[in-house]
Amino acid sequence: MTGRCGVVVAHGRLAEGMLSALTRVAGEQDNLWAISNQGRGGEELEAEITQILDERGAGRQAYLLSDMDGGSCGQACRRLLASGRVKAVFFGINLPLLVEFVFLPDESFERFVTTVVDKGRKALGAHE
């Protein structure tokens, strides 16, 4: 188990779907959870993310992972970053990025963030 944890915050059922996909390729994870913005106002979403982190992620460094920068999910994430509750917010996530997030061994914060983002970027492209 690494010293970090995270909540995937996304529209519709994307967050739970992402975690379901992650579980298929990487097995059950004990440090990543999912929440949707559906039916939740901004404050409610922030409160529920905080609750998940407090209850399940106590003592671990917290991160958020959103499907899109901006938008209500991204905004809730940014506010929790501004309040200091989380260490960083990843946005525009994909499956390879999540794999890196859960498997990368603990290392310096900057290196961790750069490596995870790099993985996600390199995973994007088109075959023609």
């Binding site: 039916g39 901006g70 905004q75």
Partner: protein
């Protein structure tokens, strides 16, 4: 009429607005009328994040909006006007904005609010206001994204 959409949505600028509505109606400007945000630079920068290229956002106090919106109407620039609650939009209408229809995109559940749609919960004040606005000739229509069927809220509100 250069204002393409008058929208009430607690989340203000978010996916449904910049993707759903903006891809359909192609505004070049979003004006958020909100006294709190007009004075909060962190919140403004959070809302500006993720705005697509070619779409800019301004945050005006209600007072500024009442004096500045007429120029926007004259400018012909395609614009969305957003407020976080219905009373603010109703005041803009009553202070001279030519609003024919108010789009309601999201008013979420909270204590004292009755849920009338999955994404719209109204308090007693909202329900009265909807009936009054309809009498004044302003339609109040719930529609989160353009592909959804419009729902006249006066048919759902108790009035």
């Amino acid at each position: 009429m250069s204002v393409l959409l008058f929208r009430v949505d607690e989340r203000l600028i978010h996916g449904q607005v910049v993707v759903g509505w903006a891809r359909r109606l192609r505004p070049r400007r979003i004006i958020v009328v909100d006294d709190d945000l007009a004075g909060d630079s962190l919140e403004r920068s959070i809302y500006r994040t993720g705005l697509p290229e070619g779409l800019r956002a301004d945050f005006w106090s209600e007072r500024d909006a009442i004096s500045l919106l007429p120029e926007v109407l004259d400018s012909g620039e395609p614009t969305f006007v957003l407020t976080a609650d219905l009373p603010t939009m109703a005041r803009l209408a009553r202070r001279g904005m030519p609003i024919e229809e108010i789009n309601v995109g999201g008013l979420h559940r909270a204590e004292g609010r009755r849920r009338v749609l999955p994404y719209v919960s109204l308090d007693e004040g909202d329900e009265r206001l909807i009936a009054e606005l309809e009498e004044e000739g302003i339609r109040v229509v719930a529609r989160d994204v353009p592909t959804a069927a419009p729902i006249r809220l006066s048919e759902r509100a108790r009035g």
